[in-house]
């Protein structure tokens, strides 16, 4: 409303100004200069909240974390404020630790396993819900539940389900006659990572389902109609219509998923605490243990930064993918 009245008032003024051309040309130019400068100022003021917010809540922690990783930062630092500079010593300790390669491998397996499972199941469900059938909406919203539960609650419940002796899963499998003795889901070094990945897939499905479902809705029906005239139905329609049209959404889902999964901490802490014998230890859990259990804040920060760099690679991929999506 304000904009339209402003415009209507401005137009006649502009006309009269143009009528007196030549004589008062300097005055509107100066006024325009002030006006432009004021606009500039307001543009900057509009930016200020965002800039301050980013600097306070993103810039400061990141810078602090980088600085901390070069210091011998201990519990005493909090009281005395003294943190001796140690250069790259923290990075050397952390990267040369025998646990680093284990954690790195586990992080990679955890991320790849989780993403693959979440994406495939999420996409299958999204396509399934494309069809029109009764209770579609209710079922779809029920599938969001894992997303709404606090992670610490989910992991506590899953810890019970996966218990070796009295867990529901083993009881179920036992009744079906699939297994004779309890499967040590969380206490076997070969199974624990698989179990943790399984739980994380369960948690990640709603995210994948929601975004992919949204992407599918965007694909115009006419394409499928035209395709069906040319004989493209079922798998062919998916291969030649759905998949190419969904590609931009897919790349965004995958890259965001990787960044989210790399830093997963609470689920692993709740389920296994990195055990048994470090078989579910990831860079995130290792960094947490260094900082908050052993009070080696410098080393914890160094390892945290390694994780940030890995995430950053995928963040850049995401930015490029989303830019391409906009271009298309």
């Amino acid at each position: 409303m304000a904009l339209t009245t402003d415009l209507s008032r401005a137009t006649p003024k502009g006309k009269t100004g143009a009528g007196k051309a030549g004589k008062g040309n300097a005055i509107p130019a100066a006024r325009r200069g002030i006006r432009q400068r004021r606009e500039r100022l307001f543009q900057w003021l509009f930016l200020v909240p965002a800039v301050v917010y980013m600097a306070l809540f993103f810039g400061y922690p990141v810078v602090k974390n980088v600085v901390m990783s070069f210091q011998d930062y201990t519990t005493a630092t909090f009281f005395t404020g003294e943190a001796p500079w140690v250069g790259l010593a923290n990075y050397a300790t952390v990267l040369s630790s025998s646990l680093f390669s284990t954690s790195l491998l586990n992080t990679a397996l955890f991320t790849v396993g989780s993403i693959a499972g979440q994406f495939v199941i999420g996409l299958a469900l999204a396509i399934f819900f494309q069809r029109k059938f009764p209770l579609n909406g209710i079922l779809r919203s029920l599938l969001l539940l894992p997303w709404l539960l606090p992670l610490i609650v989910s992991s506590a419940v899953w810890r019970w389900i996966l218990d070796k002796d009295s867990g529901t899963l083993n009881r179920f499998l036992g009744d079906l006659g699939v297994v004779d003795t309890g499967v040590p889901w969380l206490t076997s070094t070969s199974l624990a990572l698989i179990a943790v990945v399984g739980v994380n897939i369960w948690i990640g499905i709603p995210f994948n389902l929601t975004i992919l479902y949204g992407g599918l809705q965007e694909i115009p029906d006419e394409l499928y109609e035209a395709g069906s005239l040319d004989g493209a139905t079922g798998w062919k329609a998916f291969r030649h219509i759905t998949w190419p049209m969904l590609r931009p959404v897919v790349s965004v889902v995958l890259v965001l998923g990787v960044v989210y999964t790399l830093k997963v901490l609470d689920i692993i802490l709740g389920l296994t605490n990195g055990g048994p014998a470090n078989s579910t230890q990831t860079i995130a859990t290792q960094s947490y243990a260094l900082s908050f259990a052993e009070f080696k804040f410098g080393e914890g920060a160094a390892l945290g930064n390694v994780l940030v760099v890995i995430s950053l690679v995928f963040a850049v991929l995401y930015l490029r993918a989303s830019r391409r999506a906009v271009d298309e």
């Binding site: 909240p49 909090f78 009281f79 002796d165 070094t189 605490n273 009070f295």
Partner: protein, 410 residues
Amino acid sequence: MKSANRKNRPLAVAVTALVGLPVLLSGCGTAPSSSSESVSEISVMDYYNNEPDKTFIGDALTACGTKAGVTIKRETVPGKSLISKVLQQSSSKTLPDVLMLDNPDLQQIAATGALAPLADFNISTDNFAPGVLSAGTYKDKVYGLAPTVNTIALFYNKDILAKTGVTPPSTWDELEAAAAKLTSGDQYGLAFNANPTYEGTWQFLPVMWSNGGNEKNIDTEETAQALQLWTDLVKDGSVSSSALNWTQADVKDQFLAGKAAMMVNGPWQIPSLDKQASLQYGVVKIPVREAGQTVVAPLGGEVWTVPQTGNKARQAKAAEIVDCLNSDENQLGMAKVRNTIPSKTTLADKFAAENPKLATFTELVKTARARTGQLGEEWPAQATKIYTAIQASLTGKASPAEALKQAQGQ
């Protein structure tokens, strides 16, 4: 233009406010403090945030406050967030006047310089059990005192043992034999926790220490023998391999459900055990390798300290509160209601006679050892190595000796 301008003004104000807010907030943090004022209120922070301990501790604090002529302003935080809260407060110089700490954390915090030595306030440290004092000591000065302490022992289900004809074990051989005999069907002979946290380390310490093992170097024959025992018990199936992921509360649940005939646990579980009227249980010391060895159990419990707040008058009042909490009457009273053990050895006999259920624990506390007694602030790193070795050995990734060697070398 005019109307647009008017619309923008509130926004500009809001922006200025947003920018100014953090500055204002940070300015509020530093309140001036002078030492000449008379003290009428003492702030206290502890982690007894669950009932009934919350009330028991609160009542004792209030009574001590009344005695010292001050009101108590108490804050209880969850156990897990206490240390981060303390670190936060020490950097913003807002530590409470009286601070409770879990005993293995005391040296860590004392090393930062945030605590005042109790000798500055003439608090007596006479008659305390040696383990209790070593837990509260950093570099030869006592910084914290625990009114009551705890430790762990072997609980057994009287009915199951009687039915199977097993007597409570006192040596490792007896323990292995009993655990094997008590294992049948859904029921395991023994439950302990060997999870990858300090709790897993804590439960292993009795067998390690009683056999002469030392936390300074875990790559020794004595510690390997102890780890062999833990490993054999799991390998034989007398202990569920779920022990690798159990907490002490899970262990208690197994025992309560009759799924474990014996368990390693502490006296704080007694209230839940007593709630189940049908359960008859007994408590013995954790078995030793050879008869005649002394049981050395780890000391648990919380110490009360006086932080360096910079206000001498307040610190003196705070010290009075700490002293009062550690009086004989308070030790006996709190120990009885909280199922813990008075930390003064002079009170042990009287207490054990009045509370037969806690007699075994009272006996154990006399010789109990503080986890930080030898290593001080180095304890967390070494405790990590111990549970790393336990996990490697119990999962069969390495033999006990190898696992300990690898962990020590890390």
